[in-house]
Symmetry: none
Amino acid sequence: MSTAIDRSPEGGPIPRGGGREAIAAAAREVFEQRGYHGASIRDIAKRAGLSLSALYYWHPSKQDLLAALIEENTLDYFRRCDEALASAGEDPADRLRALVKATVEYRVQRQTESNISSREWRNLEPSHEERLAGLRTKASTIWSDIVDAGVEQGIFRCEHPADARRSAQAACNAIAQWFDPSGPVTMEELVDHYTRIVMRIVDLRP
Amino acid sequence: MSTAIDRSPEGGPIPRGGGREAIAAAAREVFEQRGYHGASIRDIAKRAGLSLSALYYWHPSKQDLLAALIEENTLDYFRRCDEALASAGEDPADRLRALVKATVEYRVQRQTESNISSREWRNLEPSHEERLAGLRTKASTIWSDIVDAGVEQGIFRCEHPADARRSAQAACNAIAQWFDPSGPVTMEELVDHYTRIVMRIVDLRP
Amino acid sequence: MSTAIDRSPEGGPIPRGGGREAIAAAAREVFEQRGYHGASIRDIAKRAGLSLSALYYWHPSKQDLLAALIEENTLDYFRRCDEALASAGEDPADRLRALVKATVEYRVQRQTESNISSREWRNLEPSHEERLAGLRTKASTIWSDIVDAGVEQGIFRCEHPADARRSAQAACNAIAQWFDPSGPVTMEELVDHYTRIVMRIVDLRP
Amino acid sequence: MSTAIDRSPEGGPIPRGGGREAIAAAAREVFEQRGYHGASIRDIAKRAGLSLSALYYWHPSKQDLLAALIEENTLDYFRRCDEALASAGEDPADRLRALVKATVEYRVQRQTESNISSREWRNLEPSHEERLAGLRTKASTIWSDIVDAGVEQGIFRCEHPADARRSAQAACNAIAQWFDPSGPVTMEELVDHYTRIVMRIVDLRP
DNA sequence: GATGAATGAGGGTTCATTCAT
DNA sequence: AATGAATGAACCCTCATTCAT
């Protein structure tokens, strides 16, 4: 239901807290809907219920805002992965199941953040890209470490672990693009489906 | 027919044949590098070695240019798919192998076009989006028809065909994002790898 | 007399010619009146009777506009000096008289340009400053060459040629700041007065 | 009394005594380096080591800050002139020597202040300009009174006292623009040089 | 087929200033 | 005596687009 204030085409205004977080929340939505270059800083400010200049009080530039968002999202995802893996034991199959579960859940619960992170990396300027390069690497190694271990131990029989890893990641990441929270599929079901798919991709034999 | 050679990855205008194709070629590169909103019509004209107004002689607007590109790319991809499927027989496994082959080859040979199509659909304005909606649908059904047939016939044993189809597509489409033509992997190897992966995703049992 | 169009607080609009020169003329006036940082590119466009974007069609930036103006002014001044000196013979006293005449006339006839050049050098960004550094040097040497020659030949008896040169230049340059074209003093008188003063500064003895 | 030491030519906040003077010192530097319109009140606050709002506690606006600075500088200069003239006797030549000495010393010792005063008068808004108009006048009459007296008494033989006065002032004032405290010329030498030059400008005959 | 010149809207950003605390 | 947070106006500049030629 739209409010009297014309600031939000859908979902109502977002007065979730003081400046900094209100802006971040608004930026997440606008960046997701319009993309980095299609998003105007004025839209973000309006959506946040703040003036244009207030935005600059909290964030030095549109770029920094994007970089901050991406960094925050990525760290949040890693935190979830690390927690899941910490209680997953040593077995590569168990670890991979935990990683798939953490990833699918993140893609579903943090759909907006997932889409921003995957689409807008390319719009980071060199300085930020370099600063965050380590995160990109980790996003790959967190998967390949497990897949490689499983292959080494003979648990996963896929012949091309690199492509298997890329396929598994691509499949899980794509969820954020099409998942409809109001649709019939639950997150638990998705976790189940994608766990099976990924296990077949790496060719786990029982 | 445009060749693989007429691509200049960085800098320098492209004094290809006549206006229309020069503009399309330039637009492909600029849209891929900067994204639709990040790309300026001036950049495209400059890259095409033409004046700004010449561009408007051939294309009525930036939007139309994008829509034309996406449509062209998609039709090209479908042509390849249709050809491959025409000579593939009736067996769902054979047909899926043919589709994977056509898709992987397209992602490798038409990397730029692939990336534009997947990234920039969202920047089509409603009128164009509606006009091209059928293409989007076909991009799914071309896969799901085969997967569903295979499942029905008991050839593919995957329990969740919709998710299997999405995973297979996501895996193949992602190739355009990371493939490095100067890297060690050949297209033929990729076709082989991804065929195996997709067959495992749909759970083909020999 | 002000016109119906509200674009010029004084002096009426300046439709002296096509884009480029109209802008330069407007920029000269606005830069002189408000200084570089105090001048807004919008004011300049309005004064030139053009849109804001037309200005950018002709000049890539406010900085370039300033640099172009300064360069143009300075070259114009040097042209006058060179002509005057070319027909002045070898005698340092004659040459200095010619230089004073050329300078005073330029300060009077090109008052606006003179003031911009002297005040706004400091607002040139490094790249432009470096490019134009040679002009700055010449503006000094054109004077000091003559003064030094006169001192060497015993014609000028001033003990401190460097300070004499600086004083003479400062005196002549200041004219542009206070000269009132509607006042009682004519340019010819000024040339006469300042010639005498400069001759005394370098201590010419008859 | 402020000393010559409390000047930090580049960078670093200035944690001098209390707010008011810290701000004035910072403003002097920033106004000199960037000019009134090029200077930002934020730069000044930062340089003063204070918050933006603290600056507004002490000075009601950027304009007032500029006016206060100019007034202070000018009064300081006049104080020095008056002291010098008070102990100079009645002879116009002696008085002129004293004025040159006081002026050159001020231009050298208060280079920043000199440059602000000469460059930024034009950026005073009408109300302040009117209030300080008397100071501008005095800056002229303090020189012309002496020159005129000398001419009347037949001590100075220059034919055009007004231009002589302007030239002398321009020569002395320019010192602040080029003087390099780390250079080879001492202030005492400069006083000597410029005294001779001014005496020749007014055509003192021994 | 193609151009040079121009435009109005909007881009990101900085400004001097204010106000509750 | 000083601050952090916020504002509206204005900044320089770039955008997609148009139009007479």
